[in-house]
């Protein structure tokens, strides 16, 4: 999570997407953007200064501008001056509307960047908030490999050299898609955890004995994917005969990533075991569970029904005196 995000960065990354133009010379505002929320300063213009959330991006739309138009010159100066009573990161005017001279003058005077978008206010706020949520979302780096297997995001984790990269490579060879190897950047988006590779490490892989390879060069564009939701964490562990491994799968296990519970499957591994096929099965079984089909639960229920009926027969015969 970036502690702060400068208006300059914001503009450079989004000027096209949001159709933004800069109306002031500078982009270095008095304070950086520190919140994913925005603020509409209509009340501050009218003089109600309580809850004026000045640290947020200020959006000025038609409402604010119509209000300013309704005032006489002196009142406009006072109203606009209220906005600048506290430091602002930037002001964005929507719908490509004309900016009153007084507002422009004061933004220049206070060194606050003034931007303008051609987008409609509601649509702009919706998209801007969504974008800022991603920028300020909690994120962390995880040591592991993320692969899209039949559309299910499997994150392989485990001690180093246990063979995560080799499994990922094997899956890619079978037509699945690599998202990131070794270092996965995860970000929380709503209730989902999204994973992707670090910008410069994208789709590179280190295979012991070969060295560095680029999966996209070796296997082509269909072998890679930029981003994928992490749906199941496959924890690889060395086989330990004294440990009890899950045999029935009736209980779901979860692991915490950035405060979100993600399904976890612990797989014991030993030489010669085909983890790739197991990984594909984990993905398919996960999809079945999403569709409400749980093999373990169904088998257990069938067993219980069968035994219940056998018990009834037994009791019937026990008390059947003729």
């Amino acid at each position: 999570m970036p502690q702060e995000y400068t208006v300059k960065e914001f503009f450079e990354e989004n000027s096209e997407e949001f159709d933004l133009e800069v109306l002031t010379d500078n982009l270095g505002g008095p304070i950086p953007i520190t919140s994913e929320d925005i603020h509409r300063p209509a009340f501050a213009l009218t003089g109600f200064m309580e809850n004026f959330l000045h640290k947020r991006i200020q959006i000025i739309g038609e409402t604010e501008l119509l209000y300013l138009e309704s005032l006489d010159k002196g009142q406009v100066a006072d109203a606009v001056a209220r906005l600048f009573s506290q430091p602002l990161p930037c002001i964005i005017v929507t719908k490509g509307l004309d900016v009153p001279k007084k507002l422009l003058d004061l933004t220049v005077e206070h060194g606050v960047p003034l931007l303008r978008t051609t987008m409609q206010t509601t649509e702009f706020i919706h998209e801007l908030t969504g974008y800022l949520e991603l920028i300020f979302a909690p994120r962390t780096l995880i040591h592991g490999s993320l692969v899209d297997v039949y559309g299910v995001g499997l994150l392989f984790s485990g001690r180093s050299a246990i063979g995560k990269s080799e499994i990922a490579l094997d899956l890619v060879e079978r037509g699945h898609r690599l998202v990131a190897d070794d270092v996965v950047e995860t970000v929380r988006h709503g209730d989902a955890i999204l994973g992707r590779g670090r910008e410069h490490l994208k789709h590179y892989m280190e295979i012991r004995g070969i060295g560095i390879i680029n999966v996209m060069d070796v296997f082509g564009i269909r072998a890679v994917r930029i981003q994928k939701r992490v749906e199941v964490v496959v924890q690889l562990e060395d086989w330990d005969p004294s440990k009890d491994w899950d045999r029935h799968g009736l209980d779901e296990h979860y692991t915490d990533i950035l405060g979100i519970e993600v399904r976890q499957v612990v797989i014991p591994i030993f030489p010669g075991k085909n983890i790739t096929v197991i990984a594909e099965t984990i993905a398919l079984n996960h999809m079945l569970k999403v569709y409400g089909i749980d093999a373990a639960k169904r088998l257990d229920q069938q067993l219980l029904d069968m035994m219940e009926s056998d018990k009834k027969t037994r009791r019937y015969l026990l008390y059947d005196h003729e």
Partner: protein
């Protein structure tokens, strides 16, 4: 080779979770552990095998154990059945 007779005390019979406990316990021994119900004999170290028995409450089973730690295995498994795997007995 040692043999022992046991009775299923659990109200709902040997369901998957219970089968898991039997398999876990049996797997700790080197000996071959077989479980028999009405002529059907299965390996007690196999989840699906034990589940296949469909042993309901009151069913009588036979344990056939062979190996270096057979007596130990028999005592442990018999003990588990007699105490209904630490579950409430109804």
């Amino acid at each position: 080779m040692v043999t022992g007779k046991i009775k299923v005390l659990n109200e709902t019979g040997i369901h998957l979770r219970l089968a898991n406990e039997i398999v876990s316990a049996a797997s700790k021994f080197e000996a071959t552990v077989m479980l028999e119900k009405e002529g059907l004999e299965v390996n007690a170290k196999s989840m699906l095998g034990v589940a296949m028995l469909g042993a309901e409450q009151g069913a009588e089973l036979t344990l056939n154990i062979e190996g270096s730690d057979e007596q130990d295995a028999l005592d442990t498994l018999t003990g588990l059945f007699e105490t209904n795997f630490g579950r409430e007995m109804i």
